[in-house]
């Protein structure tokens, strides 16, 4: 085993933590727990991005890290907590597929992602290339979470968690996207969350529930 520099070991540890949080989100039944986990995921992402920035001298990554911290650790979780309190939806909700099965599917996804990332990371020249597999796994797990949840807020959080995974993939494969792109994405996500927040209110106004099953009624016969 080749010895890695200490800060890269910390990045690897944080990457592993990201994956762990993704799994914790899959198994979480309560919305508030989901929001807290999402905040932790953002925090791990921000710290690892900052460490990569310091290691590689890619100073624009500092801005990305700060942006991630501000948006995904403070602003969005705060907004979600408020939303959950207002809508009073913090109950235990069973996902469509039961949780042990979801976990097993999750493991298969992780194996798939690791295999997928292996040839890509061999071509990449970054010091963080080995974490690419974890990033892809995070994206797929978030996707799985969106599929297995029927309520609106967990789906939105799944979407945001997917964005986290993509951001991490960009950092590990190419030291992040250009700053302009990242600013654009961050703004998009922020606006998206607010729009979805309003949308969630509207769904509840119309159907008296946040279960997206009811939206199937909207289909034209």
């Amino acid at each position: 085993m080749m010895a890695l520099a200490f800060h890269l070991q910390v990045v690897n540890l944080l990457a592993a933590l990201l994956l762990l949080i993704s799994f914790a989100m899959l198994s979480q039944r309560r919305v508030v727990g989901l929001v807290t986990l999402f905040a932790w995921q953002g925090a791990a992402l921000a710290v690892s991005t900052a460490i990569v920035a310091g290691t590689t001298g890619q100073y624009h990554l500092y801005y990305s890290a700060a942006l991630t911290f501000g948006l995904k650790v403070i602003a969005m979780p705060w907004y979600f907590y408020r939303l959950v309190r207002k809508l009073d939806v913090n109950r235990v909700v069973e996902p469509l597929i039961n949780i042990p099965t979801t976990m097993l599917i999750g493991i298969l996804l992780v194996i798939f992602a690791f295999n997928l990332a292996l040839p890509i990371s061999e071509m990449s020249g970054t010091v963080t290339r080995s974490t690419l597999g974890i990033a892809i796994a995070c994206v797929l797990l978030a996707f799985l979470m969106m599929i297995t949840r029927t309520k609106a807020i967990p789906q939105v959080i799944g979407f945001l968690s997917m964005e986290n995974g993509l951001f991490f993939a960009a950092t590990s494969a190419t030291y992040g996207m250009p700053l302009v792109v990242e600013l654009g994405v961050a703004l998009d996500v922020l606006v998206g969350v607010f729009v979805l927040g309003i949308f969630i209110f509207q769904i509840r106004e119309t159907f008296d529930s946040l279960d997206l099953k009811h939206m199937e009624k909207l289909k034209e016969k």
């Binding site: 690897n12 592993a16 933590l17 690791f114």
Partner: protein, 314 residues
């Protein structure tokens, strides 16, 4: 060689004698956290002494297996306590069993306890034995996965090599070990009949697992089983320390490091016991049908640790 045997005997005896103290410490911490006045830390010793002085009562239908099982359980746990390095590494007993055989020793004790529970033929004993088997058949593969992760890092399934790799070589962060450690913690909770899988203080028929199995035992038999339970908790704690935080365990033949090793062990066990009681104070027992989910999560974490080892560390 003779120092080795002496050390081995001392370590095994220390583990067996200190085990009720650890139990007492956990109970004390938990009482503090729950705002009750705590029992003395030596309360488990008093309970054992009381039980040893009582006359044993046996059911009419009890077969010899029923009387034999407590000794078997205690002997298995004592053997396990001798194999896991607590003070010094690479003692004469350690080649007797690697981590996989260690799982087998725990399983041996469990099988005897379950058989004895079913031997009397009461409903509770059978119920407890079945539940215990449900828990253990899920916990065992997860435990093996944890051991495999540790073995992959040190390229050996022998405990002394695993300890030596982590404790006496250059420091490196192993993300896979972090996963394995969380998984191991969850498995230990299940295997030692702690909250959230089982409540060690309950006698409520709907929820008890371990207590249901030993319901028919009395006096010296019960004392041996209680003591074996304490030794099991101690051994699992020592195992966790050896796998994940082995710093301080004396290297082979390093007698001068023993006082430090003893201090480190006591400190780590005290911290571990306090953490265990904190966790028990803040969490609730889960329904029995949620236990497979709990242990499935432990298995998942252990497998993830292995996968991450291949991705990040291989």
């Amino acid at each position: 060689m003779s120092t080795g045997i002496l050390l081995q005997a001392a370590q095994t005896l220390l583990a067996i004698l200190l085990a009720p103290l650890l139990m007492g410490w956990v109970n004390q911490c938990r009482a503090w956290l729950q705002g009750r006045s705590a029992p003395s830390i030596v309360q488990p010793y008093r309970a054992l002494r009381k039980l040893f002085h009582k006359d044993a009562v046996l059911a009419h239908d009890a077969s010899p297996l029923f009387r034999f099982a407590p000794y078997m359980v205690f002997a298995s746990m004592a053997l396990a306590a001798g194999i896991v390095p607590t003070l010094a590494n690479d003692l004469p007993f350690s080649p007797a069993a690697d981590v996989i055989a260690l799982v087998g020793i725990f399983a041996l004790a469990r099988v005897f306890l379950a058989l004895a529970a079913m031997d009397i033929g009461t409903a509770f004993g059978t119920l407890g034995a079945r539940r215990e088997m449900l828990v253990s058949f899920l916990a065992e593969p997860a435990l093996l996965m944890v051991f495999f992760t540790a073995s992959l890092i040190s390229q050996s399934t022998a405990l002394p090599v695993i300890v030596a790799t982590l404790a006496h070589k250059a420091f490196a962060i192993h993300p896979s070990l972090a996963f394995a450690a969380v998984a191991f913690w969850m498995i230990s909770l299940a295997e030692n009949a702690r909250i959230p899988v089982d409540n060690p203080t309950t006698h409520l028929e709907l929820t008890m697992i371990h207590e249901a199995m030993v319901l028919e035992y009395s006096a010296r038999h019960l004392a041996l089983i209680e003591w074996a339970t304490a030794v099991k908790l101690f051994t699992y704690s020592a195992l966790g320390i050896a796998l994940f935080v082995p710093w301080g365990i004396a290297a082979q033949g390093d007698v001068a490091a023993l006082p430090l090793a003893l201090a480190a062990m006591v400190a780590k066990l005290a911290a571990g016991g306090a953490a265990l009681s904190l966790l028990e104070a803040v969490s609730a027992k889960v329904r029995l049908f949620r236990v497979p989910e709990f242990l499935g999560t432990a298995f998942l974490l252990a497998v993830l640790g292995m996968l991450i080892h291949f991705l990040l560390e291989a």
